[in-house]
Amino acid sequence: MGTVPLEKTPQLGVANQRFWIEGEPGALYGGAVHYWRLDPEKWSEILDTVVAMGYRMISIYIPWEVHELERGRFDFGEVNPANDIDAFLSLCEEKGLRIVVRPGPQINSELTGFGYPQRILADESLHARNARGTRVVLTQAPRPIPALSYAADKFFEETALWYDAICPILARHAYPKGGLVACQVDNEMAYFFGLNYYSSDYSETSIEKYRAFLAEKYGSLAEISKAHRTRYDALEDVDPPRKFCARQPGDLPVYLDWAEYRESYLVDSIARLADMLRERGLASIPLFHNYPHPLGPGGASSNFTTPFNLIALERVVDFVGFDVYSRKELFQHVKTVTSYVSGSSRYPYIPEFIAGVWAWYLNPGDLRDEEFVTKAALMHGIKGFSRYMLVERDRWLDSPIRRDGTVREDKAHVFGQANRMLDRLDWQHMDLLAPVVLLANRDYDRLEAASVLVSFPGDFLETPCTFSEYPNILTVDESDIGFQQPVQLAKRDWFGAWYENLEQSRAGFVISDTEADLEQLAQRRIVVLTTFEFLSAQTQQTLVDYVRQGGTLILGPTIPTLGADMEPCTILSDALGGNSAGSARLGEGSVHVVVSPGDMAAVLGQVLADLGETPVTVDNPLLRSTIHLNSTNPKDVVVFIANPTDEPQTATVTAESPIVACQDAWSGEQLSSTGPLMCELPPYTVHAFRIALD
């Protein structure tokens, strides 16, 4: 999100929500092809089909477990021609394709070992541990695997053997020598889907790291003891929480610390792997990571924060995305995830973007889901993506291209049409009009995660306890823990109410979280945030600074008077002169306190009126729309209109100035209307128009 002056845009890199290649914003529209699963004789024909569909990039998972013959010895085509990654990379370059590689060490890819050689999975010293001290097992097909501990130095030493072998090959193809323009570090790092707060990692080495994390955070054992409201005689006495038992605010810091540590564990692990890749010849290309789609079809509607921390992770790699697989009925789900990525990442990219379906998804979707979800994601500002999977293979169904190279024509048409639509929209020069950012409150999300009443591991086939891995109303503690209301529950209600009211207001908004710094917040005119009795001092100070320099802050229902350490912290309250309701000026900006959800619409209406008219308006309140402006020509406008309902809808699009030209970007048809634009939207459809205003 940080704005980089145009003259400083990189030859290769990310800035201004663009992926720059040779100093120009590049269209990173690509898809995954698993070379090792395909007959090498078919590679060329398959890549030709990919190019014909309008893709410009191939995304390549590279499996350690497939290439390793024995510890430290690898096959890159000498034994199995399908393992000749060097030849495949060269072939991609010959076809004019950019390349993104994903060498793991974890790649999942529906491989039995998730990409790890069996000897790694079998090594007890590398196993993560749960709160009860036993190993952590992910139930997945065709064989359960243990979660590995990324806290173990030995894990990185073993990974180094793999990186030592693969990186020299990759470095030969890295831009500007070849077509390799980005590298993904590991894959969907999420404790092997052990998202439950108490599921891992309680291994000895992880607990040592937790203690070091606390020592760095607090500076001394005495300060840790003070924060945790206990007395530790030695650092070795500090133990992470293993069951939620908090009854009062003072009990919470120890839980919030473990949640914060779980985020830093993932960030630090990625950072260490990224450094290893840079040291081995990949320092010249952007590195990135993909968080998993929050639970896939039918899953959580948000849950994009803890243990994930996109913004913190972008401090150690160049960009981070969330994978997106969904069904057409879950428009709000797609909107939430993609609005978060476009509102938080410096390059809104979907590293795995729905194309076909994993064999074990229950009730798998079809092409209508793929088309709707594609457009629903793009309309919220996604700038690049990798289709997963472009080519079908073992354990993946219904991709546009079959493993024998033949084409599913209906799918190839729709996926190709999506690429052509983006070209018609001049997508790389468009910016989402979103003056508002709705922040998730990471402090409260951490509390929600900690307050789960039961602990269980990830399970791809459905956990026997029937609960979601993400905390929700069925799993979190309902006690108020000494606050006016159970923050861990109320925060979800409030976030949902803000979201709904912003949708009804027709304001362009994105989503981020309280990890955002002042520079990121300053990109938006209005910040909306749920606040209860506590909020970290750093967030309070960032918000005050944001308002003082001209921002508009809407918050509520409570002005916090405690920090996340549950000690008095009145930065916000002091800035507001002790006012706990109403509106107030502060520096160049203003603060508006909403004490009841029923007041949200009125306050938003008042504040949004100051933003002025949007260039385009869509009339039907059941529809959802977004507006994108050409960064070099504000009269060049793109409007997306989505019908997320199961009923046909009509829309009338009016503009603030006369429409001089309008194109249906999906069909390419030039529309003759110069007045208000009328359109019909069947159930679960999205239309995109490029409009030239007078």
Binding site: R143, P146, L397, P464
Partner: protein, 257 residues
């Protein structure tokens, strides 16, 4: 029984979706009443749609009786009532994960995991029970794991295919083609697909095409069965499948080529 590298190739998504509908049942998707307590102190009492249980108990002394009483009261609204003690749940998952070994096949692991659900009848209580028959992803096969292994061993010959179809009037709507290796481990799944065979026609006719499809690819069919779609759930659920087949002579075709 499931090979460590069992492959799933050339699967038609419509056939697979229909097969899932017949075979799999999601406990997570089932309407249910959830009670979570900490050694008797109730901390959660909600329906799976999030609605709170009216007049929820604050403590529990006899979880099985509580589950039975709540089910009697709300049987029209829920498929089952689950009463879970927090430490019992954590212990259960710790125990199951601790039992894993690198050589454990998925079906064996899942069998262990579900059997263990019934190990603590006071800690993890489901009514109607047992817990292993309601929670998680349920396989509507009528037979338990051990019985399936026995049937496979007695019916399927090594290196052969099991062909299963479900037929709706004039069309094959669901199919599974399963290959067993020399050790009778399942090493390959696939389905019929419209680009490979014509799915339209009578039940027996389409079943023959399926058998031919396997043969054309060098495979040997050990057992093939196609059932009228409306009868499929009853046949799958039955423990005595021969009786169901005998009772519906015109609705099931069996081939043992």
């Amino acid at each position: 029984m499931l090979h460590a590298n069992a492959q799933m190739l050339d699967i038609d998504v419509d056939q697979w979706r229909a097969a899932q509908d017949l075979i799999l049942h999601s406990g997570k998707a089932a309407p249910r009443l959830v009670i979570i307590h900490d050694h008797g102190r109730v901390q959660k009492a909600r329906f799976s749609d999030g609605e709170p249980l009216p007049n929820a108990p604050t403590s529990i002394t006899d979880p099985r009786r509580t589950a039975a009483e709540l089910f009697a009261e709300f049987s029209g609204r829920v498929e089952f009532v689950m009463v879970m003690e927090r430490d019992a749940v954590d212990d259960y998952f710790a125990r199951v994960q601790g039992a894993w070994t690198i050589d454990t096949d998925l079906d064996d692991f899942v069998t262990i995991m579900f059997a263990a659900l019934d190990d603590d009848p006071e800690g993890i209580v489901v009514h109607p029970g047992p817990a292993s028959g309601q929670l998680g992803l349920q396989w509507r096969l009528g037979w338990g794991h051990e019985e399936i292994v026995t049937k496979v061993t007695s019916t399927i010959s090594p290196d052969s295919w099991l062909v299963l179809g479900s037929h709706d009037v004039d069309r094959l709507v669901a199919s599974l083609l399963i290959h067993f290796d020399e050790d009778l481990e399942v090493d390959l799944f696939t389905t019929a697909a419209p680009e490979r065979i014509d799915l339209i026609g009578g039940r027996e006719e389409v079943l023959e095409r399926l058998i031919d499809l396997v043969r054309q690819q060098g495979g040997r069919v050990g057992f093939a069965l196609s059932v009228e779609h409306q009868l499929a759930p009853e046949l799958l659920a039955a423990t005595d499948k021969a009786r169901v087949i005998a009772a519906h002579p015109g609705e099931v075709t069996v081939r043992t080529p």
